[in-house]
């Protein structure tokens, strides 16, 4: 019998037949697992879903789908709160505002991650790579300050870790280069106020709230008056920042004024020994709040209604009605998009103004953005898959793709990438502002504290009460509420 040598075709056929049962068996072993995540409906989470659909493959070999339940921002808290408290156990992961951590941790809904991180070298590497301000604000409860996190690195001996950054946000200045770089405008401004208009982003490093006020006065124009190289086609306004009753729209900017003027908010990290009375209504806070109120004089008239939120000022800026605003980085993408913005080719970004104190400019701001967390009712396999999703999202490759798509990253290695600043026009400012971030309270009483405060701030913004009265009311309310909760003791 003649032995014929095997042809390549026959060899492949034999190999295929031999491997087939194993391939079939492997696909039979692979489980279908859905990681359902509640998230606000906006760009950063939409990108996460699209990118997961396109690129995510579970290392376990299971068929893991990330399925994001997009919830409109105004209903986001209500929907998440209702879902968690109803016990429906619908979500495996949740994008949570950092301030909600205490509420949902103490209700037993968010999973403590210390042991899981300690057992996983990849997660430890991520924790060591995260910016300390984000670990402090997004992950620790009870809150550990960013300074402490920075001092010890990971792991901090007293920290309980719960979340990872889904989208870290800071606020920056959006300004019009056609106005701030206009020679005629600059000459008029210099004649009136003795300094140049800041044209390049670097020029804004020395800008204080006093300068901001001057921009407000200088750029206020009536319809038909000269503006830059043209004329104003309607009333035009110099400056604006958030000052609105809904959500946290006033608090986020007013807290910055408190901190920058040397004041502060009730300090949860030293409870029960930190008072509210005398801190919340301190002379520094009253001065800071009064400055915030004074500067609203140069904002568009919607400021007087207490409804000048982050979306309203973004819209007015895109409509070409304001020279400069302070707003979140997250809202920058539509501003440079020709499809949505009239000033897309004239918008630039800079650090926000600060307060000159002891010869230095203080730019302390309130941390924005959101962490994402795991819920407590998942079995070990789902937890493992969810943590793999975390690792995928916080891998450098994914984070770079997110930043390039208009998002942001909390990874220091991404922020330090030599090309980082070229990926978006606000990246340099976002990175600079991360150093100035503090967060507000994370305790379960957060929503009551915020709601009452927003209402009192709104009364002051609409001229019904003074800054002092508003802060006295807030301090008295916080003192009573936090004493009842055992968070303030004599």
């Amino acid at each position: 019998m003649e032995h014929k040598p095997m042809t390549l075709k026959r060899t492949l056929s034999v190999l295929a037949l031999t491997a087939a049962p194993f391939l079939v068996a492997e696909s039979a072993w692979a489980k279908d697992i859905t990681i359902r995540m509640a998230a606000p409906d906006w760009g950063p989470t939409r990108f996460m879903q699209e990118h997961a659909n396109a690129t995510y493959k579970a290392p376990s070999g299971n068929n893991v789908q990330l399925e994001i339940d997009f919830i409109p921002w105004p209903n986001f808290f209500d929907r998440v709160n209702a879902s968690l408290n109803s016990g429906e156990q619908k979500y495996q992961m949740i994008v949570s505002d950092s301030q909600w951590l205490g509420t949902f941790i103490e209700s037993g809904h968010f999973l403590k991650l210390n042991d899981l991180i300690a057992a996983d070298a990849e997660l430890q590497a991520i924790m060591n790579n995260l910016h300390p301000a984000l670990v402090s604000g997004y992950s620790t409860y009870p809150n550990v300050s960013a300074a402490d996190i920075e001092k010890t690195g990971y792991p901090h001996p007293d920290a309980n870790y719960y979340g990872f950054p889904q989208f870290p946000d800071t606020y920056v200045t959006y300004y019009r280069t056609d106005l701030f770089c206009d020679e005629g405008e600059n000459a008029t401004f210099k004649a009136a106020y003795g300094s140049d208009l800041p044209c390049n982003p670097d020029d804004w490093e020395s800008i204080t709230w006093d300068d901001w006020e001057n921009f407000g006065k200088h750029f206020a124009r009536k319809s038909g008056e000269k503006l830059g190289s043209g004329t104003a086609d309607g009333d035009f306004y110099g400056i604006a920042y958030q000052a609105a009753k809904p959500l946290d729209f006033s608090t986020m900017q007013i807290n910055a004024f408190f901190w920058q003027f040397g004041g502060g908010i009730w300090d949860e990290t030293t409870q029960p020994n930190s008072p509210a009375l005398g801190v919340v209504n301190s002379a520094e806070n009253v001065e800071g709040f009064q400055r915030f109120l004074d500067l609203l004089e140069y904002a568009p008239p919607i400021a007087k209604t207490g409804q000048m939120g982050i979306f309203e000022i973004q819209d007015l800026f895109m409509q070409g009605k304001i020279a400069a605003i302070v707003d979140w980085v997250a809202l920058g993408a539509p501003v440079i998009d020709p499809a949505t913005s009239k000033v897309h080719d004239r918008a630039a970004f800079a650090v926000p103004p600060g307060n000159m104190r002891d010869g230095k400019i203080d730019r302390t701001g309130n941390l924005g953005g959101q962490p994402f967390v795991l819920t407590t009712w998942n079995d070990d396999e789902v937890i493992k898959e969810a943590l793999d999703v975390v690792k995928w999202w916080l891998s450098e490759e994914t984070q770079i793709a997110a930043v390039k798509a208009g998002g942001q990253s909390g990874l220091v290695s991404v922020l330090n990438n030599p090309d980082y600043e070229s990926w978006a026009p606000w990246n340099a400012q976002h990175k600079a502002m991360l150093e100035w971030q503090k967060d507000l309270w994370h305790v379960p009483e957060f929503f009551e504290l915020l709601t009452q405060q927003q209402e009192e701030f709104d009364k002051a913004i609409t001229g019904q009460i003074s800054a002092q009265e508003a802060l006295d009311n807030v301090a008295a309310f916080q003192d009573e509420l936090l004493r009842d909760a055992g968070r303030i003791e004599d």
Binding site: D78, N81, N85, T103, E106, S107, G108, K222, G234, D235, Y237, A244, K245, P246, P300, P301, I302, K304, T305, G306, Q307, L316, Q319, K321, P444, F447, E448, T451, E455, D458, K459, I461, T462, G463, Q464, I465
Partner: protein, 317 residues
């Protein structure tokens, strides 16, 4: 008789055999079960979605339950009702609600009545205009609120632009408590005046024309014709409109929440918004339930008056 008995027995035996041969479906399809089965889905839905939550929240109003706490609720009797009734904020919100209800319902009655008088006559394009006038009450609250929010916007809004043509300054209606209440009243009246018009129009077209002819022969003045002929016919319907709109406006939430957010401060915060805030922002779930039951009590009183008037009208009819 024998035939009848035989046929009756045969029918019973036939039904039994059908039940045997058709099984569960035939048993369910039996005439005595068909009715209850047909209404069962509606009753179950009503119980699950309406009656059960109603009873549950009523029970909660006697405990100290907070939806964002894990602590086991304890029985507190009437404490929550006492807290709500002695809370000055609740009475402020009731006052705000009363002002909005009073102003809005008055405007709705006036404009609804005038529109009904207009559309009771025949004129060219009447049908098309009637459809347009009825459109606001068919829109969703959210659409109306967004429309008015943009309309009132001091920088981009139509109202500010129009007034600015005369004053040279932007008009900021929502900057003051009075202006904000006016803004909500206008939006609510715009939306619901057509409803009043529909009711009044139904009364106006039911007036027999011979009465007006007789009044004309008697040379009765227009005012006397209105007082003695028109008004008696529309009186009950006007009262119905008044009560129906009072009940609905008393529960006003959407327009105020969306146009002003309850501000400036809390000047346009109605009692319904306050109940929502107590429940979903302050998480005093039991207290919010107690307040909701107080609102329900007021609505029940108003509804009883409404039903009394309906019954009286039926008796008159």
């Amino acid at each position: 008789m024998a035939d009848l008995n035989t046929s009756g027995a045969g029918a019973v035996s036939g039904a039994g055999s059908v039940a045997k041969s058709g099984g569960l479906l035939a048993w369910l399809n039996a005439p005595e079960r068909r009715g209850p089965l047909l209404v069962a889905p509606a009753l179950i839905t009503l119980f699950v979605m309406n009656i059960f939550p109603l009873l549950w929240s009523f029970g909660l109003s006697f405990f100290n339950y907070r939806a964002n706490r894990l602590t086991v609720p304890s029985f507190k009797g009437l404490d929550n009702y006492e807290k709500v009734l002695t809370d000055p904020v609740v009475w402020e919100r009731f006052q705000t609600t009363g002002i909005i209800v009073g102003a809005s319902v008055t405007l709705q009655l006036i404009f609804g009545f005038l529109l009904a008088l207009l559309f009771a006559k025949t004129f060219p394009l009447r049908r098309i205009l009637l459809m347009l006038v009825l459109a606001p009450m068919m829109l969703s609250f959210v659409s109306v609120a967004i429309f008015f929010k943009l309309f009132y916007d001091p920088t981009l809004g139509l109202l500010s632009w129009a007034i600015g043509l005369f004053t040279g300054e932007p008009f900021i209606l929502l900057a003051t408590p009075a202006g904000s209440i006016a803004a909500i009243v206008i939006a609510d009246a715009w939306m619901w005046s057509p409803f009043v018009m529909l009711l009044v129009l139904a009364g106006l077209v039911s007036v027999p024309t011979y009465l007006y002819e007789a009044a004309e022969i008697d040379r009765a003045s227009p005012w006397r014709r209105f007082r003695t002929i028109t008004f008696p016919y529309i009186k009950s319907l006007l009262l119905l409109a008044l009560l129906f709109r009072t009940i609905e406006t008393f529960k006003l939430f959407d327009l105020s929440f969306l146009i002003t957010g309850g501000g400036p401060g809390a000047s346009t915060e109605t009692v319904a918004i306050y109940a929502y805030r107590l429940g979903f922002q302050f998480f005093r779930t039991s207290q919010a339930s107690a307040l909701a039951y107080l609102i329900l009590f007021v609505v029940i009183v108003l509804t009883s008056i409404y039903l009394y008037i309906v019954n009286r009208r039926n008796e008159e009819g």
